[in-house]
Amino acid sequence: MLAWTIYLSFAGALVEALLPKGKAGLARWFALSVAMLALLHAVGGFAAGMGHGRQIIVDIPWVPSMGIHFLLAADGISRVLVLLTGLAAVAGILFSWNVEHRTNEFFAFYLALIGGVYGVFLSFDLFLLFVFYEIAIVPKYFLIAIWGSTRREYGAMKLAIYSFVGSAMVLIGLLAAYTTAGSHSTSLIYLAHAGLPVSFQMWCFPLVFTGFAILAGMWPFHTWAPTGHVAAPTAASMLLAGVVMKLGAYGCLRVGIWLFPHGLDPWGFSFIGIGSWRDVFAILAVIGIVYGALVALAQTDFKFVIGYSSVSHMGFVLLGLMTLNQIGVTGAVLQMFSHGVIAGLLFAIVGRIVYDRTHTRQLAELETMHLAKRLPFAAWAFVIAGMASMGLPGFSGFVAELQVLVGAWIAKPWWTIAAGVGIVVGVAYTWRALQKAFFSDNLATPDEHPKTGWHDLGAITWPEVTGVVMLAGVSLFVGLYPRILLDTIEPAVKALLAGGGQ
């Protein structure tokens, strides 16, 4: 059932590419129905998989001479992330309802990207996973370069090169793992069992982990993220922050930690308190959390605030992974889901609801527009999204970040303390952006600021309302009843941390 998410998306992309030009409505509705159908399959697969461990979905020999299989499977982690992808895909289409330029091509690239993302989350063959991972790069480039805004060609190329360099590192690790394990199979399950030598894991782990973590926005390789997010059209930045960054984090977990568990072992010596790759990456994650939050605090562009906040929130995911304990890693997976929903919502509000009406994202200009009065829906949606993003109890982010912090405390208490600083700053930048963009009343009357579009910002359309309600509702629901995801995530994390033996 889950496999159909992939097939549907790619088939949808192909049909979109062949649709007649100029029929924007048709392209939109078709894309929405494909994404809805895929979401239904994702939900169905999630529901059907409850209480089950890893299930093989498809296993067909693909390149028999090299032991490569078309192997799709799902465990709890995959199911949750597939669900997230489905939600983000539908929401993204709702928020790109106003794309009029080359609409069918837009949705063709969009659905191809979604198909690649589904594929990564469901692949249990390292090679297949890599193929899907790379398939996702090209549509991202074109989505940003063609339909983007600020410095779009620069942002798109930067993103493409960063992604490709990251995947080159992964490919080197893939080849090395494949040949070291005897060139028999690229199945993740096989490789996890293969007993790769510890010395090999020691150097291969950081390579693969960094390769994936580039896409997860790990400091100091995060610089593609803010520029890419800002340049991207709304739907693409929703997907970038919502699911594409999760591809990286998922790869870190599924490939990095699962295949090379001994890569995290202590080196046997310590240098300024750092004694293993685990320390190295945890420190980078903590730096990312604090740095992302501090930089977000200083931004003048509304979208950059959200862009840097993504770096900060993804730091929690990476920190959670590096705790290597049940609660921390579970929190990391839940944070992937939570951040996917919340970042999608934030980007939708900033990029679609606000920017497409005001044509500015400068906080200084937004300050003069009295948006709380003129776009109350946007203001209150942002209040909700901002609360979720700050990690207020009742929203999904709270449960996730709490678990990560508890896990980090168990591992090394100072990680938690440092990350806590990030949370405090997180409250500050969200509040600052909220105040400046919507609730500023210190400036200007309509007469003094005759900006274009001042008098009529346009009514909020139904796709926007639907999208906001859907994403905010999901975040709230998961926040109030986290068991719905945790019950699925926990056994999978347990099995994964126990290594290949499970």
Partner: protein, 516 residues
Amino acid sequence: MNYADLFRATLPETALEIAALLVLVVDLGFLRKAALKSRVAIAALLGVAGCGAALWALQIQGNAGLNYGDLTLLGAGTYIAVAQTGILVLTALTLLLLIDSVFTRNAGEYVAVVLMAAAGGLIIAAAQDLLVIFVGLELLSLGLYILTAFAKSSGKSAEAAMKYYLFGGMSAAFLLFGFSYLYGLSGSTSLPRVVYGTYVASAHGATPLLYLALVMIAAGLGFKVAAVPFHLWAPDTYEGAPAPAAAFIASVSKVASFALLITISSVTLHFLETLHLHGIAVAIITKAGTPLPPLPIVHGFRSAWPQTLMVLSAASMILGNLAALAQSSVRRLLAYSAIAHAGYILLALAFFTYSPLSTNAILYYILTYGLTTIGAFGVVSVIERATGSDRLDSFLGLHKRNPLLAAVLLVLFLSLAGIPPLVGFWAKFNLFAAVLTVSAGPVPFALVALAIGMSAVSLYYYLQVLKRAYVMAAIDETPINAHPVTLIVLLAIAAAVVVLGCFPALLQNWIVSFYR
């Protein structure tokens, strides 16, 4: 050996030569008054038919090589048959691209020269003897010089041909010089005996003569595959030659040259592996009957040639990819990318194993690369005809001017960049996996890492072209029309790139099937 053997062993080459003469007769004899378009079409189709006939001849020829006494002159079967089939198919594709071209009025001569050069390619792919190798290389090269100069009204074409000819003549001289040393060392021109002879001569430490000979040969063959630092002809030739000729140089000539490198590597390794296995060179001189004295194991003999290749490979990967970044002409960009691709393949030749693993990976790579690059030149030639230039900016707005052509360009360039699930990615994966399977030390690993890192660089310049085709606004939106045959050929190539990429086992199984 009698003439019947000779005839049977060279049946495909003969078919090509007959087709070449036939084209000349038809074109010059019967079609002198016909319109140029129909002359070009008929000549191209006759050429394709000639390739078909040669393919058929290849089938019935089976595994009959050509022996003189106990020396093999031409091999047959296994990887040789794969390379020869590839040469013929790629030649036919470049001929089909000719139908749309207007660079010459001498269609018959063009096709005849292409077919003769292809015959040279077939000989190179099969050659097992220094002299036969040289004859084949010259047959191919002379054809290529003529083809490069075929656009008589274009100054660039003449310049390119002159540069190509001078470089080529020089490198042929180097090659012959190296061969003469090898002959002096070993007393034979047959490859297995050359290896045996040089090995015996190196029994007390490799002689400087051998190293000199190897460097000379590396220079000669490095020129053919456009490896750095023997690559200088490539950008000019790719830029100046008429598009179908450039496609021929970029594909067929490369396949033939790499088949030759495979021959050299596998003959050497076959000898060494037998030696290390049995202590004596049993398998070398099969028909002589006299048992040979045991040979000492000479250290360092094995590493000289791979080390040379490694240097060429690393230099080609780095320089090819970095220089391509700075190009504003798409043909020159393709030339530098060809240099980079040659670097990847040389890596697999440096870490070569006698088992079919390496050979298959290299063949897979070079055949799919040839196919893709022919398609790329096809697109470039259509755009050149419409806009008069191959600058990056002539690709502006291609997705509006001809969406199909833009889609073909997208597929081909992404495949060249190595994006899955296109065939270029499989080729790279296969190749690098072969390298690491043969040797997993730090050196091959570092070189593979370099190659993969460099292919990340390559995405940038391929995207520069695609960006103009898809992203940037068009200056001129008049539609570009491609000749239907050209368009069908290009679509077929793009479809093949996608299908072979999605089902990589197809081509692998096909290659393996020649070993049964």
